[in-house]
Amino acid sequence: MTLNALTIAEARDLLRARKVTSVELTEACLSAIDGADALNAFVHKTPEIALTRARAADQRLAGGDAPAMCGIPVGLKDLFCTEGVASQAGSNILKGFVPQYESTVTAQLRDAGAVMLGKLNMDEFAMGSSNETSCYGNAVNPWKVDDRTLTPGGSSGGSAAAVAANLCLGATGTDTGGSIRQPAAFTGITGIKPTYGRCSRWGVVAFASSLDQAGPMTHTVRDAAIMLGAMAGHDPRDSTSADLAVPDFEAALTGDIRGKTIGIPREYRMDGMPAEIEKLWADGTAMLKDAGAKIADISLPHTQYALPAYYVIAPAEASSNLARYDGVRYGHRAALGKGDGITEMYEKTRAEGFGAEVQRRVMVGTYVLSAGFYDAYYNRARRVRALIKRDFDLAFAAGVDAILTPATPSAAFGLGEMADADPVAMYLNDVFTVTVNLAGLPGIALPTGLSAQGLPLGLQLIGQPWGEADLLNIAQVLETAAGFVSKPAKWW
């Protein structure tokens, strides 16, 4: 039995049956992590903390009342602030930053007994779709079909690579425009972005506050249900976190979706969509139909405007959120020349500390919020966002329970292949996922097939607000029908 390759559900059952200890599980993961430096997934390793927590979890398990995540080794995206452990958001400007507090989501995982193995690679401030904007260098996809090294996707690329390579049983991710779902699809794992407000944003380094949500990245839908249950819940320290009870997501996995209506949005059939993506989508539709769901063609007419609206709103919010990195309270401060005042300090600090993509987005955001353009860009984008949400509201009001779409326009691409492309070309990776953030809905990506080259391909299911339980149940039916069992062959 390879302990680090267990699912969370399997490990939980073995832990509770006292057939395996958390220390054994944790040691298996730590040794897998040490053997996987080529993937560059874990960027701050915390073996001592891991073993201390594993021993505590074993004691708690011996007591017989341990929660589901107790003793489960997990990795945490570098965007989550962790007390006493470096948290840099993949940036140079936060180099050396050691939070004096713990984010709510990771505190809940810790309190549930989960074991922190370390911090995971990501795009700088979660801005990127290939993990190539990270200050730590690229995270690498464990899937490999030729000489090329492939991107694990982004921004939660380290999380995706770590789970796919069995370095941890689950990982936290965050998703502002697709940053959980696109990397999950690129690495053949499952990732859910919950409804906006389901998980607290407190202590998660902010990118675009009206879009950011944390969620789990796991091997299976059941694992996503278990881990989401531990991450979710109301937090008085995040005024947008919803004061709603967290359902038992795992108990909702009944396997019965008879009578459910699955919408297939015609606007997601993009021009030039690869035939294998179209087939994946048609196959997924047939699987849900065979399981007793009703299939409905639906229209979400404002879909094509989601990306441009997103690339106004997200940079606008980012330019405001990232104003805090000024070299005063934390993080990098540039060395100053003679006579330099505070403005020079800000300008030099931010030029040295921010990478090219982050600088670009902060400046785009600054521009669209500047006097004379605020209405033309920012307010217009927020109006279009209202229309995008209304498209979904109307579909759900007409009886649709969930919506099935591709997760990404392609399989994982090679690292470096987009280096000379226009920034907008990279943004197109989010074309199927970004609508979900704009509308605040839950969305889950799961692997359902392989490309002709042998790389994983994923589908996305979009659910109703606060309907994660139902969404996970439908996703699990699709998972079972698709029977995706392929794993990357170990080369690292």
């Binding site: 050396g96 930053f97 050691v98 004096q100 507090y101 409804t195 906006y196 407000g197 009206s210 008085p236 947008t240 919803a242 404002h302 405007y305 441009p308 609206a309 690339y311 106004v312 104003a323 070299g327 005063v328 309270r329 934390y330 993080g331 990098h332 401060r333 100053l336 330099d340 505070i342 403005t343 020079e344 300090m345 300008e347 931010r350 921010f354 600088q359 670009r360 902060v362 400046m363 785009v364 600054t366 521009y367 669209v368 500047s370 033309a376 860009y377 217009r380 984008a381 927020r382 109006r383 279009v384 966002r385 209202a386 229309l387 949400k389 226009d422 920034p423 907008v424 704009l438 605040g440």
Partner: protein, 96 residues
């Protein structure tokens, strides 16, 4: 809407408090123009009578008592400061 020229790029960089070397301004202007022309698609949408979205979930922000709930952690607040002296953040001279 206008294409971003070098002068506008310089002004945006100044507003964003990011120092951009003079020789990089043309490329920056070009990239910003590309991104903004991508956004121009939004002008095709009829938004008559549509309010700009402020909250994606229809929720009323919770109210709380305006009381002191936390504090007394000066050392923690200053722990990550690039320059902290005598219990304060230190910065270059702001006022002459």
């Amino acid at each position: 809407m206008s294409k971003i020229d070098i002068e506008t790029a310089r002004r945006v960089a100044k507003l964003a408090r990011i120092r951009v070397p003079e020789q990089n301004l043309p490329q920056l202007a070009n990239q910003l123009s590309g991104i903004l022309s991508f956004m121009e698609q939004l002008n095709e949408v009829d938004v008559t009578g549509i309010e700009p979205m402020t909250s994606v979930t229809p929720m009323r922000l919770k109210r709380r008592v305006d009381g002191v709930t936390d504090g007394g952690m000066q050392a923690k607040i200053l722990a990550n400061a690039p320059d902290a002296r005598e219990g304060f953040f230190a910065v270059p001279k702001v006022v002459e």
